[in-house]
């Protein structure tokens, strides 16, 4: 139980530190009372997590809710995810003493369900809509050539052939033939199927206790995070995945924070597209 409680506290501290950093950066680029309030709440949450005080978890719920409310209805999915996580951490923190042990275990299982749900349903939605599974989505991302993801995909697929760039304005009056090699199309299709398969099967494997599934899921998250450059979500998700282990060492939490921060600096600093 102590392990579970420590893990929840470490996760809370990780999210609070990320929120504090994000609010600080946002305050510089776009000064406003919302970022200041969010930053202050995250600072309180970080202090509370460090001192094992329930008001820290309460402050983090406030920060997460404020972010969702002020960005609604355009709220990004990882903000909803953080709100769910904040609610769970808060319930564990404020549980009455007589049922504290069981609530902490309950909260940890719900957090595991949360991260598995993100992977599993992402895969199912990709099947439901069809664009991703056919390879069309990744090819389109490569062709539009306007993001880190596009750059990473082009680099990765360069052994199978080059991908021409297109622009939305070129397509207004009709279709443009694309000289794409058959091997590139095949490679992208196989990759797309592989990604969807991993998103669905790995969470199921973790839920069923398959040996090594949690390591593969962690590796998949790191890979997807690097390619998509979704640093904010990758940091949260990697932290959530650490909860799949009973007692993640403190070094793992620190490495998660510092590692993704370093990737963010590389991308935001313009060293990568």
């Amino acid at each position: 139980m102590t392990d579970s409680k420590a893990a929840l506290r470490a996760f809370g501290a990780l999210l609070a530190a990320k929120g504090l950093l994000g609010a600080a950066l946002s305050s510089v680029s776009e000064p406003g009372v919302v970022h200041l309030t969010t930053g202050a709440l995250c600072a309180v949450a970080l202090l509370g997590a460090a001192r094992s005080r329930p008001w820290g978890a309460t402050a983090f719920v406030g920060a997460a809710a404020l972010t969702v409310v002020t960005s609604f209805p355009h709220t990004l999915n990882h903000r909803w995810f953080e709100l769910v996580v904040a609610l769970v951490l808060w319930r564990a923190a404020v549980a009455p003493v007589h049922r504290s042990l069981r609530t902490v275990v309950h909260a940890r299982v719900v957090l595991q369900l949360a991260i598995l749900s993100v992977f599993f349903f992402s895969g199912l939605q990709k099947i439901a809509h069809g664009q991703f599974l056919s390879g069309e989505h990744l090819l389109r991302e490569m062709a539009m050539d306007d993001s880190t993801m596009s750059w990473a995909l082009r680099k990765g697929a360069s052994v199978f052939g080059s991908m021409p760039s297109i622009d939305a304005t070129h397509l207004v009056f009709g279709s443009v033939p694309l000289p794409i090699s058959a091997s590139l199309v095949t490679a992208v299709r196989v990759t797309s199927v592989g990604i969807v398969g991993a998103e669905i099967l790995l969470p199921l494997g973790v839920a069923c206790g398959v040996f090594g599934a949690r390591w593969l899921l962690l590796a998949a998250q790191i890979g997807i995070g690097l390619v998509s450059a979704e640093i904010d979500f990758a940091l949260t998700a990697t932290g959530a995945l650490l909860l799949l282990w009973r007692a993640p060492p403190r070094a793992a939490w620190i490495a998660t924070f510092v590692g993704w921060l370093a990737v963010g600096v590389v991308i935001w600093g313009g060293l990568l597209p």
Binding site: N77, V110, R140, L178
Partner: protein, 190 residues
């Protein structure tokens, strides 16, 4: 098995509801995306990357040739990102719309329903001072890469809006979109 037992018989009722939400909402969200054109990228349904990411610059508005001379100066003066398109042969009065200030259709829902076109036309008139009576043809371009044919296909949804009402909506994926054909002729009332 133990995890399922904890989820079902855990001590905290709020956590139980959260767990139920984590399983139920993504499924409901997928249905909403299919039936109501809700964006798969929003509202916490974990459908990011399942559909093409919304790109606000893909809306192009056209006006009739007779309306273009009076509109072009005003439209062209709205900023460097608002340009005037000219297809050469047809000399259409058209403008590439900077739609970054308009997020409702492109960000929260797929640009498919009639109300999306009407709402966008209303925003466009206010943003670019286009008179209500001037018919607007809106071409919403959805860039697709047609894998089997190895072609980049501009799937175009076209609509004409006037007086706050949609008077024509169609979908083109052919090589040429003849906008002047579907716009009402100059001087006509319908």
């Amino acid at each position: 098995m133990r995890a399922i037992h904890i989820l079902r018989h855990g001590p905290d009722r709020v956590l139980a509801w959260v767990a139920l939400l984590l399983v139920g909402w993504p499924m409901a969200h997928a249905v909403l995306v299919q039936t109501l054109d809700v964006s798969s990228w929003r509202f916490g349904g974990w459908g990011m990357y399942a559909t093409a990411a919304p790109r606000a610059s893909q809306v192009v508005a056209f006006v009739r040739r007779c309306d273009a001379p009076t509109l072009r100066p005003a439209l062209a003066s709205r900023g460097p990102r608002v340009g005037v398109l000219d297809d050469g042969g047809l000399q259409l009065g058209g403008l590439a719309v900077d739609a970054t200030g308009y997020r409702l259709a492109s960000d929260l829902a797929a640009f498919r329903g009639d109300h999306h076109f009407v709402a966008f036309a209303g925003w466009l008139r206010r943003a670019h001072h286009v008179p209500t009576r001037t018919p607007l043809a809106l071409a919403v371009v959805e860039p697709r890469v047609h894998v089997s044919g190895r072609r980049a296909m501009g799937i175009v949804r076209l609509a004409i809006v006037r007086d706050g009402e949609l008077i024509l909506r169609d979908r083109f994926s052919s090589s040429v979109v003849h906008v002047d054909v579907v716009l009402p002729p100059c001087g006509s009332t319908s």
